[in-house]
């Protein structure tokens, strides 16, 4: 063999000097890679935010979709409107009415999941360096979108009643005083991802008022609103403020995420921009998925199906709360969500959820470290546990394993006399789409 070859000097990426500025922050992370183990059946994954859709009537859906192709296939598999198909926009108005929202089909833009609605809204409003306000903590997928458009995320504190209006007011004033441009507030008032917290009606009114007076748009993301497990429904912010709210909805949690159908309900002028942005991004949202969902809504008792889902999620939520009560070491606290998919755990002082994830994976349990839900590196003492996908038995087992992990970590911390200072982390440690 010949070893006399010219020296190759490479970064293994010939485009490394060509990428846009915003692309440079996109890196592989060890934490993210660990989620690849979390998906193995041996591991109880309390990380994934995937809805459990095994209760859906798959045989009926299958036959309806077959019928759809046979009777309207040439329409359903053709290009469609950039705004989305009219029939589904009308049906979405019925869905939103359940949350007190009066909307017109003309003001709805269909998107590829509400994640794309978030992308279109951010693209429409945000220039690099603009400020987006978000709850602390907030949805990792939204933070990723804001980062991709080079927004600066400023977090606003929450408590058990949701976003704190005084903190919001103070943040807007302070940012304005610094000459910063605040473009919108991003909020998940119903069973916030990751905290599970439900914002009270009084807070919603106050938040809407503050934003309206300050000229700051509200982007209300509501994937979990219809999954209230034992809370009285609280009207959406959009239900009492049609002028200053862009409302994002989704079928991912109430039907199935694989169709990737969501929507944005926006004031007319904004809606026009969103449609143009949608056309430039995709020409039109997936037509077949819209027809499929429209057929489901028209031919199946989807409200009863949501009740089935809620009963299933309630049992899982209760299993998680029982498991945490039994297995968490002293000093650990957690939220008691009345809906949605998630429990937000605060670890005893000194523990770092990101640092102990490898130990958890070794012990065959996984969660998402809290740092993924902050743009500023905070959240090291927190973890998000989801109760949506594993069975109640697996959830109980998962909390047991997690308890062992925390006990071992506490012991080792005590052994080393580790200080209790929270450790900031690189915030680019969020999970992939199967975990969101």
């Amino acid at each position: 063999m010949s070893l006399e070859q010219p020296r190759r000097d490479t970064r293994l990426d010939r485009y490394v000097d060509t990428y846009a500025e915003r692309t440079h922050g996109l890196k592989v992370s060890a934490v993210r890679a660990l989620f690849s183990v979390a998906n193995r059946p041996e591991v109880v994954s309390l990380a994934g935010g995937m809805p459990n859709i095994s209760d859906l009537p798959l045989d009926i859906i299958g036959s309806k979709i077959g019928e759809l192709i046979a009777t309207r296939g040439t329409q359903a598999m053709q290009y469609g409107s950039g705004q989305g198909e009219e029939m589904i926009r009308e049906q979405i108005c019925e869905v939103m009415a359940l949350e007190g929202i009066t909307g017109h089909p003309d003001d709805i833009t269909i998107t590829t999941g509400s994640q794309q609605a978030l992308d279109l809204v951010t693209r429409t409003f945000v220039d690099p360096g603009d400020v987006v306000l978000a709850e602390a903590p907030s949805y990792v997928g939204a933070l990723g979108t804001f980062q991709a458009y080079q927004a600066q995320v400023v977090h606003v504190a929450m408590d058990s009643d949701g976003l704190q209006p005084d903190a919001l007011d103070a943040a807007i004033r302070s940012l304005r005083a610094q000459g910063r441009r605040v473009k919108f507030l991003y909020t998940i008032p119903n069973f916030n991802n990751p905290s599970g917290i439900l914002m009270t009606l009084e807070r919603r009114h106050r938040v809407a008022e503050i934003c309206r007076e300050a000229g700051v748009l509200v982007v209300e993301d509501n994937p979990y609103g219809l999954l209230s497990l034992d809370a009285d429904p609280v009207p959406a912010i959009r239900s009492f403020d049609a002028e200053n709210v862009v409302y994002l909805g989704s079928f991912s949690k109430t039907f199935a995420p694989g169709f990737r159908v969501g929507w944005a309900l926006a004031p007319h002028a904004v809606r026009e921009k969103l449609v143009l942005a949608q056309e430039s991004a995709t020409l039109c949202p997936p037509v077949f998925s819209q027809f499929a969902i429209s057929t489901y809504l028209a031919t199946w008792d989807w409200k009863a199906q949501i009740t089935v889902f809620k009963d299933m999620y309630r049992a899982r939520r209760d299993a998680m709360l029982d498991g945490l009560a039994e297995h968490m070491p002293p000093g650990t606290t957690w939220t008691h969500p009345k809906g949605g998919f998630f429990v937000w755990v605060t670890l005893p002082e000194g523990l770092d959820a990101q640092a102990l994830l490898p130990r958890a994976v070794t012990n065959r349990v996984a969660y998402v470290p809290g740092t993924a839900f902050y743009a500023d590196g905070l959240g090291s003492r927190n973890m998000r546990l989801s109760f949506c996908f594993p069975t109640p038995e697996r959830i109980l087992e998962g909390t047991r394993r997690l308890g062992e992990v925390l006990d071992a970590e506490l012991e080792i911390h005590a052994m080393f006399g580790i200080d209790s200072t929270p450790h900031p982390h690189d915030s680019a440690s969020g999970p992939g789409p199967d975990v969101i």
């Binding site: 063999m1 020296r7 190759r8 890679a33 041996e42 490898p358 911390h413």
Partner: protein
């Protein structure tokens, strides 16, 4: 060209599952490109039955970390009379554990960092403040703290001050019960693959690693563009020769077979210092072994295919 059936084993339950899947995909494709009928399998309770069904073909283990490199899976393959490429379970067990491998390479006459290995229960029994202080005094700063049995730089921390040592130890223990603490070696980071195609182990060209961040951590390893690689490394010929000598020497000292990769640092005096040897070198798009093969004018598929032939000739349990 051959249509011989080969199983590429990748995935597993270790912390490096993601890397292993990437290595497995690339190795599988390289073997297909030279005509093999490749079946890609993950580690599961049905693995041995599946290998039996397939007629016990040669297995190419592309498992990184944990059971993939610590000898456990190889032991199972040996028990099941399945021939495989690479080191035996016994030598994999030795090489994977830095607390065992480093002293063995040192005993063979090669430079290694000074190393102290400590299981976590030692701190429990003897009390941490005394041991931490003693570690600082013995090795000095900066020092490297690593899990004894882990790869891809997971759980590794460079420690500059004694105050930061406990946190680094805790991080290493998150990956396993034994940590090694080593003197930090400053210099040029180099990886030297070794292959043995039947005529004895031969070092391939050294690959020099220059991470943009200054640290060749997980992100620098697996983000394309984040690290500059020079293949062959920009080393004086005598230094390159000594790197090759160290890689082959480590391969022999640890009793490795077929292929390995030794990671080392060339210090300021031009001395190659052993860091670790890998029995399942990464084959990902950003791994050094494929780069080195390319620099040697070798094709990954052909090399793996030759190793498959050797494994078949060796037979099961060998």
């Amino acid at each position: 060209m051959t249509s011989e059936k080969v199983v590429v084993l990748a995935g597993g339950l270790s912390h490096e599952r993601d890397v292993s899947l990437r290595s497995g995909r690339r190795a599988a494709q390289a073997l297909r490109d030279v005509g093999h009928d490749v079946v890609e399998l993950d580690v599961s309770s049905s693995l041995l039955a599946r290998l039996e069904e397939l007629g016990r073909p040669v297995v190419v283990p592309m498992l990184h970390g944990g059971a993939g490199e610590d000898g456990a899976i190889r032991q199972a393959l040996e028990l099941a009379d399945v021939p495989f490429v690479g080191s035996t379970s016994t030598s994999a067990r030795v090489a994977f554990d830095k607390a065992i491998a480093t002293p063995r390479v040192a005993a063979a006459g090669f430079a290694t960092p000074r190393q102290i290995a400590l299981p976590d229960d030692m701190f429990r029994e003897l009390g941490s403040p005394t041991l931490v202080a003693a570690l600082g005094r013995r090795l000095g700063f900066p020092m490297m703290v690593k899990p004894a049995r882990s790869g891809s730089a997971l759980g590794c921390t460079k420690v500059e001050r004694v105050e930061d040592l406990p946190a680094a130890m805790v991080q290493a223990y998150a990956y396993g019960g034994v940590a090694v603490v080593e003197t930090f070696v400053t210099g040029t980071e180099v990886a030297v693959p070794v292959v043995d195609l039947g005529d004895g182990p031969v070092a391939l060209p050294a690959v020099e690693i220059r991470p943009d961040s200054g640290v060749y951590d997980y992100t620098a390893r697996y983000t394309a563009g984040a690290t500059r690689f020079l293949a062959p490394a920009e080393l004086d010929q005598d230094v390159a020769d000594r790197c090759a000598e160290l890689a082959v020497g480590a391969h022999r000292a640890l009793g490795l077979r077929d292929l390995s990769r030794t990671d080392l640092i060339v210090d300021g005096a031009g001395t190659p210092v052993f860091l670790e040897a890998n029995v399942a070198p990464g084959m990902t798009e950003t791994s050094t072994m494929p780069l080195s093969m390319e620099a040697a004018g070798m094709d990954l598929g052909h090399v793996l295919s030759s190793l498959v032939s050797l494994a078949r000739q060796r037979g099961a349990g060998a």
